[in-house]
C-alpha cells in the first residue's frame, strides 16, 4: 500500500494539431481512489482513454509501477490491459450476450476454467453488484443503472489491479449513484485495487476520492491536484474553489 502505481510524466494529449491538454504530471498511489475532475469538454474522458491505451499520447509517458505503458510492445500492453477493469459511460455491455456471458467472456478467454466454473464466478460477480438472478438477461432487458452495475461486474471479472470508471453516476438517480459510490469503495477495499474515476459529481468526489487532479480547459493543463477535501479548504485557485463549491459565491438572480 502507498507505493506509486500510476505515474504520468509530461503527458500531452492532442488530436492532430489541436492540443487538448499539456504538461500533465501526476502520480496515483496503490489503493488510491483518484478522481479526474474538470468542466465539461475539458478532456477528462480523453485522459482516461490515454491511461487505458485507446489513445496514444502526443508526447510524454505513462507508467504502471515500473512498466512503461506508452513504449511497450503490443503484446506486453495487452497483458497489462488484462489487469485493468474499465467501466464505460454507457456500460458498453456486449448486446448479443447475456449478463453471465458478458462477465464470463474475459474468464473464458484468459483462464482455463470450465464453463461451469465460469458461470459460477460470473454469478458471484453479478451478486456482488446486486444482480443475483439476472444471469440470463440480455443488456437491453434491464435498466440503465443495472447495465452500469453489470458493466462493473464485468470490469471486475479478472480481479483487476486498477479499475477505471468513466462518469459512473451519469444518468443515475441520486440513490443509485450513492450506492455505486459505496460499491466503488467496498471494491477498492475488498480487491485492494487502485481506482481511477472520471466524474464531475461533487457529492461523489467528496465521498470517494482521496486524490485528484483538476483539468482546466482554458489553460489547457492541470491546475490543481491532491485530496479534493484539502483542495476545497486550501486551494488558492479561484477556479478550483468555484468548481468545488458549485459557484456558491457567485451572484444569483432573485436573491
Amino acid at each position: 500500500m502507498g507505493e506509486p502505481h500510476i505515474i504520468v510524466r509530461d503527458l500531452t494529449m492532442a488530436f492532430g494539431d489541436f492540443v487538448l491538454m499539456r504538461n500533465l504530471n501526476f502520480t496515483v498511489k496503490r489503493g488510491d481512489v483518484f478522481v479526474i475532475m474538470g468542466g465539461s469538454g475539458c478532456g477528462k474522458s480523453t485522459l482516461l482513454n490515454h491511461l487505458i491505451g485507446l489513445l496514444e499520447p502526443a508526447t510524454g509517458e505513462i507508467f504502471y509501477r515500473n512498466f512503461n505503458f506508452t513504449k511497450a510492445s503490443p503484446e506486453a500492453r495487452e497483458r497489462m490491459l488484462r489487469r485493468f477493469g474499465v467501466l464505460y459511460q454507457s456500460g458498453a455491455l456486449w448486446s448479443s450476450m447475456t449478463l453471465a456471458q458478458n462477465v464470463g467472456l474475459p474468464l473464458e478467454e484468459f483462464t482455463d476454467l470450465s464453463p461451469r466454473e465460469i458461470h459460477a464466478i460470473a454469478s458471484i460477480k453479478l451478486a456482488l453488484v446486486g444482480l443475483r438472478g439476472f444471469e440470463d438477461y440480455y443488456p437491453s432487458q434491464i435498466s440503465g443503472g443495472m447495465q452500469k452495475r453489470a458493466g462493473l461486474a464485468r470490469a471486475m471479472a479478472l480481479d483487476p489491479e486498477v479499475l477505471f470508471f468513466d462518469e459512473p453516476s451519469a444518468g443515475l438517480d441520486p440513490i443509485s449513484s450513492r450506492l455505486l459510490d459505496d460499491l466503488i469503495l467496498e471494491l477498492r477495499d475488498g480487491l485492494g485495487a487502485t481506482v481511477v474515476v472520471v466524474t464531475h459529481e461533487l457529492p461523489s468526489i467528496f465521498t470517494i476520492a482521496n486524490n485528484s487532479i483538476f483539468l482546466d480547459a482554458e489553460t489547457r493543463t492541470m491546475i490543481a491536484s491532491g485530496d479534493p477535501k484539502e483542495l476545497l479548504a486550501h486551494s488558492p485557485d479561484p477556479k478550483v474553489h468555484r468548481f468545488l463549491t458549485r459557484g456558491a459565491d457567485d451572484q444569483h438572480p432573485g436573491n
Partner: protein, 382 residues
C-alpha cells in the same frame, strides 16, 4: 395613462433625441415573433445620422413581448458595442433585462464560429486524392489484419467464439436462401427470354439451354448472389459493428485485451467465405430452373432435353470458376462491411452512413473484381 395599449397593437418603434445627445428608442405595441420584427437597420440608420453618445429605451407603450424583443435588444447592444456607444437597459421590463444579462453573461468564445470557406478547386481535388489514398491504405491494413487473423485461426490461437461463427453462418447462409432463390430464378428467366428472342430467328432455340447454363454458372449466379449479400449482409455487418462502436462495446473488447479483429471480424469473414460458394451453387440451380421454365413454357422444349443440353454445355472449369468468384466476392463483402463498421463515427447518423458506404464499397469492388477475374480466366483459358 396608455390604457389603450393592447396586445394586438402593431409593432413599431420611434426615435427621440434625449439629453446629452442620447438616442431614446420608443418601443410601441406588441413585440412578438410571429408579428415579424422591425429591422435593426432602422436603428443603424438613426445612429449613423445622429451619432448619439448613448442609447436608451422607453417602453411605456410596450404591449406583450417575447424573444422577438429580446433579439432586437441584443442586436442593438451588438450594434452599440461595435461603435463604442453604451446601451442603457434601464427603461426595459425587468424580465427582459435579466434575459439580456443572461445572454451577455458569457462572452463569445474566440474562434468558436465555424468558418465556411470553400477551398479552391485544385485544393479540393488534392484533398480528395489524399483521402482516397488514405482510404486505400486503410483497406490494405484491414485486409492484412484479416489475413493475420485467419492465419492465427489455423494455428488455433485466434480468440473468437464458435457459437458466434455458427450464428453468422446461419445469418448469411440459411436465412438468405429465399431471396437468393427468387432473384436467381428471375435472372435465369430473363437470360433465357432475351436469348430466346434472338435464337428463335435462327431456329436455334435449344441453345437457350447452353446460354443459360454457362451464363448463370460462370458469371451471373455468383454475381447476383454477391449483390444480394452486399445489400443484405454487408450492410448488416457495418450497422452491427458501427453500433458497437457507438456504444463503446468495441473499446470494451480492446481494453480487455481481446482483439476485435479476431472476435468480431473473423467469424463474419469466415462465415461469408464458407457460405458464398454454397449460396452460389444454390443460385446456379435456381437460375437454370428459371431458364428451363422459359424453355418449357415459351419454346416448348421438353424438360429432359433442356436439362441434358444444359448439362452438356457445362464444364467443371465453369462451375469451379463461378464458385471461386463467389468466394472472392464473399471476402470483399465481409471486409467492406466490417471495415466501414469499424470506421463508423460515434453518432447514430454515422451508423447509417457506414451501412450505406458498406454496400456501395462492396458492390463497386465486386464489379471491379468481376472484371479482373473475367480477364484473368480468359488469359488462363479457363
Amino acid at each position: 395613462m396608455e390604457a389603450e395599449v393592447t396586445t394586438d397593437q402593431v409593432t413599431d418603434l420611434n426615435f427621440e433625441q434625449g439629453r446629452d445627445s442620447s438616442l431614446i428608442i420608443h418601443l410601441v405595441g406588441s413585440w412578438r415573433m410571429h408579428h415579424g420584427l422591425p429591422s435593426v437597420g432602422r436603428v443603424l440608420h438613426e445612429v449613423s445620422q445622429t451619432k448619439p453618445r448613448s442609447i436608451g429605451f422607453e417602453t411605456s407603450r410596450l404591449g406583450a413581448w417575447d424573444s422577438g424583443l429580446l433579439t432586437f435588444v441584443a442586436r442593438t447592444i451588438d450594434l452599440g458595442r461595435s461603435r463604442n456607444i453604451p446601451v442603457a437597459l434601464e427603461g426595459l421590463p425587468e424580465g427582459l433585462v435579466r434575459l439580456v444579462e443572461l445572454a451577455e453573461a458569457v462572452p463569445e468564445k474566440k474562434d468558436a464560429r465555424v468558418k465556411t470557406q470553400s477551398a479552391p478547386l485544385l485544393q479540393r481535388v488534392g484533398t480528395a486524392t489524399i483521402n482516397y489514398a488514405d482510404g486505400a491504405e486503410d483497406f490494405l491494413t484491414f485486409l492484412g489484419g484479416v489475413v493475420i487473423a485467419i492465419g492465427r485461426m489455423f494455428q488455433r490461437e485466434a480468440r473468437f467464439r464458435t457459437s458466434d461463427l455458427m450464428i453468422e453462418i446461419q445469418d448469411c447462409g440459411v436465412s438468405a436462401l429465399g431471396i437468393v432463390a427468387m432473384i436467381s430464378f428471375l435472372v435465369g428467366t430473363i437470360l433465357a427470354f432475351m436469348g430466346a428472342v434472338q435464337l428463335q430467328q435462327f431456329g436455334a432455340e435449344i441453345y437457350v439451354a447452353d446460354l443459360v447454363a454457362i451464363g448463370i454458372v460462370r458469371e451471373m449466379g455468383a454475381m447476383m448472389t454477391a449483390i444480394i449479400m452486399a445489400g443484405r449482409t454487408g450492410a448488416s455487418f457495418a450497422a452491427q459493428l458501427g453500433t458497437m462502436k457507438v456504444t463503446q462495446e468495441i473499446d470494451a473488447l480492446t481494453t480487455m485485451g481481446i482483439s476485435p479483429m479476431e472476435f468480431l471480424v473473423l467469424p463474419r469473414v469466415v462465415a461469408l467465405i464458407l457460405m458464398m460458394p454454397l449460396l452460389a451453387v444454390f443460385a446456379n440451380v435456381f437460375g437454370v430452373m428459371g431458364g428451363a421454365f422459359v424453355g418449357v413454357a415459351m419454346l416448348k422444349i421438353a424438360l429432359p432435353t433442356f436439362l441434358r443440353e444444359a448439362w452438356n454445355a457445362l464444364t467443371l472449369g465453369n462451375l469451379f470458376g463461378g464458385l471461386f468468384k463467389a468466394m472472392v466476392y464473399g471476402v470483399i463483402i465481409a471486409i467492406a462491411g466490417c471495415l466501414r463498421g469499424f470506421q463508423c463515427g460515434r453518432s447514430s447518423s454515422a451508423v447509417g452512413d457506414a451501412a450505406t458506404q458498406a454496400v456501395v464499397t462492396g458492390i463497386v469492388w465486386i464489379v471491379v473484381a468481376c472484371g479482373i477475374m473475367a480477364f484473368l480466366f480468359n488469359m488462363l483459358g479457363i
